[in-house]
């Protein structure tokens, strides 16, 4: 199949990205609300509600407050959710119910360009969400600058990783209900066990190893290092992992969508 359909990607994928931006701009006021409120909810719940119970946390040799610990994790989760849900539920609706992909494929665009445009759009939504959250969280004085600004390109990379695997699932799932499986078996465990709400050191050794498979673990570590302004060797490892993860799942997503749509 791949031999029959060599990758046909040109800059035209940006047209699909622009189409999604056009739609997004129609409802940006509504789209802006979740990334604006989400960090507020988390910070209030954990900062006020849990901090008293947890106190301070030792993270990489330094003593930090619990709110400081979870603030970058909230951004990481939002990066994951924005791209993953965009290329799963939202892309599925466009592909399956709205026939948007069918219409575009009758124009000089290739399926590969459509899918690339969708994934890059998912990553863009991650960047938008991260940017809004950075602004909100900065008001609490929880972010170290200028390193925290690097969370924006990180959001794009993380968005590509989660957007690619999301699109891969879209290529597999027969109907929209089936997304419950990757959400429950992939996203939820990551949400809980990627060093988001507690340091991974608290887990047994084997569980720490397993957590290293999760892209969210690396994304959270990176966001945390940048938000605290403390870099170490794990940064390049984390970036490398997310890059490789994207480089594996992006072609897999293209291939799976070819299987699904080119008939």
């Amino acid at each position: 199949m791949s031999a029959m359909f060599p990758l046909r990607i040109s800059r035209r994928f940006l047209r699909v990205w622009q189409r999604n931006l056009t739609v997004y701009r129609k409802s940006w006021k509504i789209s802006f609300i979740p990334p604006f409120l989400e960090p507020l909810f988390y910070l209030i719940a954990f900062g006020i509600g849990m901090s008293g119970l947890v106190g301070n946390i030792r993270y990489q040799g330094a003593e930090i407050s619990y709110v400081q610990f979870i603030a970058p994790a909230i951004i990481g989760m939002s990066i994951m959710y924005n791209s993953f849900f965009e290329t799963t539920y939202a892309s599925f609706v466009r592909m399956y119910y709205q026939k948007t992909f069918d219409a575009i494929m009758a124009t000089p665009l290739s399926l590969e360009e459509v899918i690339t445009g969708e994934i890059v759009w998912g990553a863009t939504k991650s960047v938008i969400a991260a940017a809004i959250m950075l602004i909100v969280i900065s008001f609490f004085g929880l972010l170290h600058y200028p390193t925290s600004l690097l969370i924006l390109p990180l959001a794009f990379l993380g968005g590509l990783a989660f957007g690619s695997i999301g699109m891969f699932f879209t290529g597999i799932c027969a109907n929209i209900e089936m997304f419950n499986l990757p959400v429950f078996l992939f996203v939820t465990p990551m949400f809980l066990f990627s060093g988001t709400f507690f340091p991974l050191d608290n887990l047994p050794r084997w569980a720490q190893q397993v957590a290293l498979i999760f892209p969210l673990t690396h994304l959270t570590n990176l966001a945390r290092s940048l938000s605290l302004g403390q870099g170490d060797s794990s940064i390049s490892f984390g970036i490398g992992y997310l890059l490789i993860f994207s480089l594996v799942f992006f072609p897999l997503a293209l291939w799976q969508m070819q299987q699904r749509l080119i008939k």
Binding site: M4, F5, R12, R15, Q18, R19, T22, V23, K26, Q98, K99, T100, D102, A103, I104, M105, A106, T107, P108, L109, S110, I262, K263
Partner: protein, 334 residues
Amino acid sequence: MIEFRNICVSVKQEWQELNPKQLPETHSDASNPTIVKAEHLLKKFGDFTAVNGVSFGVTSGECFGILGPNGAGKTTTIRMVYGFSPITSGNLKVFGLDISKDWRQIKSRIGVCQQENSLDPDLTVLQNLLVFASYFDIPKGEARKRAGDLLAFFALEHRRDAQVTELSGGMMRRLVLARALINNPNLLILDEPTTGLDPQSRHQVWDRLRDLRRRGISILLTTHYMEEASQLCDRLIIIDHGLILVEGRPQQLIRDHVGRDVIEIGSPTQELRSFLKSHHLQYEDLGHRVVVYCEERGDLYETITRDFCKEGCMIRMGDLEDVFLKLTGRELRE
């Protein structure tokens, strides 16, 4: 009947007067008269052969129809033509170009109306056209101009800012057509363009398509409405089970396969059947009804009504539907 036709003509004229706006002439390619050339086109889905080696050609400026019952392979055939489905084997040239290599160039010169509504419900009427124009790399200013012209041509100007979901079925189909024309295509591919439309909307679409024909645009369409095929198509093929049954001009096909007149007899008797047999007449026995195909035979009709059936008997002109049913059979396709 004559009166009815006159009414149709006057309605049509009114419609045209209401829509004086003209579209720019499309550039037709006179040097290469064959626009689509399909040879032994074969398409398999696993073990199932959807299109089993069809060959046909569409020449510049003509309207070519692909007719067939449900599941005959119409949609599969045209999907191969516009590069949506890769061909399993055979030869397919569009504008003299190879669809597997020059697909981008080919797709930039055709307009497609798919069977399922694929308008973008997230966008307004105008945005649908503008966003679609961007897929063809049409500059913004030019896209706005073309979109304005097309909305006028399809009488959609007053709904330019409406959400697509607010439109009626007929308006949606007109918008799909407008969208397919945004790139000034040389070839328009229509997959059942009027399925599900009310008669008014259907005639409106036909009028627009005839206008486009006059401007030299070539049309390749599928349909299972015989009236649509008779109204629009210069030439057509009838396919079934992935094979071409017949090819020709609508009137010629009717003459060749049905004759001029058709006599339908309800509740036929055995005597009638033996009469038809003994006179070597061409007929189809449907049990409760017999259909006789013949040349101009008012006398035969008189004989039949006089001797074999007092009522439930009628004579009419043969049409494409007779050809279609005769060739593809009468059993249901589901």
